[in-house]
């Protein structure tokens, strides 16, 4: 009996999890839709054209561009490699590839909906600042170590 009631409970918890997901589907579909739009409208060339050649400005631009961009992390590595070849500073490229995976403007509405608006704002501000600092720290450390 205990075993039977356990089985029912697991089914219930599975159903509950599935329903929780289902309730978020409109939001998730919205995010997916926005990502599709972004990938169609913003080309790699357009992203690359945002950089100015000034390491300080480019680090900020890289963080913002990476935060707005969507797609597989692998794409950011490839794009980052191309940007380096074009002479964009390693600070900017590091910020770009890190922001690509840590920040996400497109999914902010869903994050705020699920985890709370204040948490979302604080977390993303901290992630933005961390990305810049980690990028500077990484490049500086590589420079010191040689």
């Amino acid at each position: 009996m205990k075993q039977n009631s356990k089985k029912i409970s697991f089914r219930k918890s599975l159903k509950r999890s599935a329903l929780s997901f289902a309730s978020m589907m409109p939001m998730i579909l919205s995010i997916v839709g926005l990502m599709g739009l972004f990938q169609a409208m913003v080309s790699k060339e357009l992203l690359a054209s945002l950089f100015t050649g000034d390491p300080v400005k480019d680090t900020l631009i890289g963080t913002v561009a990476g935060g707005i961009a969507v797609g597989q992390a692998l794409v950011s590595y490839i794009l980052g490699g191309e940007l380096l070849e074009q002479g964009i500073s390693i600070y900017a490229v590091t910020a770009f590839i890190l922001a690509w995976v840590t920040l996400g403007i497109v999914q902010l509405p869903l994050e705020a909906e699920v985890l709370g608006l204040r948490f979302t704002i604080y977390r993303n501000i901290l992630a933005f600042i961390s990305t810049i600092l980690v990028s500077i720290g990484t490049v500086w450390t590589i420079g010191v170590i040689g």
């Binding site: 599935a18 409109p26 997916v32 839709g33 599709g36 980052g80 996400g104 869903l110 985890l115 600092l133």
Partner: protein, 169 residues
């Protein structure tokens, strides 16, 4: 069941409609890209649903609170870092599970740590090494781990004391 995000979905739908009249070819590309993304999600969602169900079924909520709650200490940070590194797929695929864990006492700082640690993609590390070098990859990874924990600690400071980040706000 209450569906969340219906208004946003309507707005996105209108954006696609506008794009259809403005540039049908681009709309077609957008639809294909979105469909591919959705397809990838469908591979991950069943995993997340099962993980959520297993946690709910097998794990005593008090244990969640002790391992991932306010008193979780170093263990909580290690779990958040490890889970972030191991977790797969887009960030938003994990939101439902995190929402569930918050109700069982997961502290907000660990969520921030989990999210930032997700930037370490183990399967992609060799590719990063190929593009940027081993030293760069190692240093970046170490700084990401450090930044993940610092963010978590700061979020706990900001959100913890004044309960400013509660879901019921």
């Amino acid at each position: 069941m209450k569906f969340r995000g219906l208004r946003l979905l309507l707005v996105v739908g209108l954006m696609y409609l506008l794009l259809f009249f403005y540039d049908e070819a681009k709309m077609s590309v957008a639809v294909k890209k979105a469909a591919m993304l959705f397809g990838e999600l469908m591979l991950i969602f069943p995993l997340v649903i099962v993980v959520m169900a297993l946690i709910t079924y097998y794990v005593d909520p008090r244990k969640i609170a002790s391992h991932l709650g306010e008193e979780s200490g170093l263990r909580g940070w290690m779990i958040a870092l490890s889970a972030g590194i191991i977790s797969h797929g887009p960030m938003y695929a994990w939101y439902p599970m995190l929402e569930d864990l918050i109700k069982h006492g997961l502290k907000k700082g660990l969520i921030a740590t989990f999210f930032y640690a997700r930037s370490i993609k183990i399967p992609l590390l060799p590719i990063m090494v190929a593009y940027f070098g081993f030293g760069f990859t190692l240093i970046l990874t170490l700084y990401i781990l450090l930044a993940s924990v610092i963010q978590g600690l700061l979020i706990d400071q900001i959100c913890g004391r004044s309960k400013k980040c509660d879901l019921e706000e």
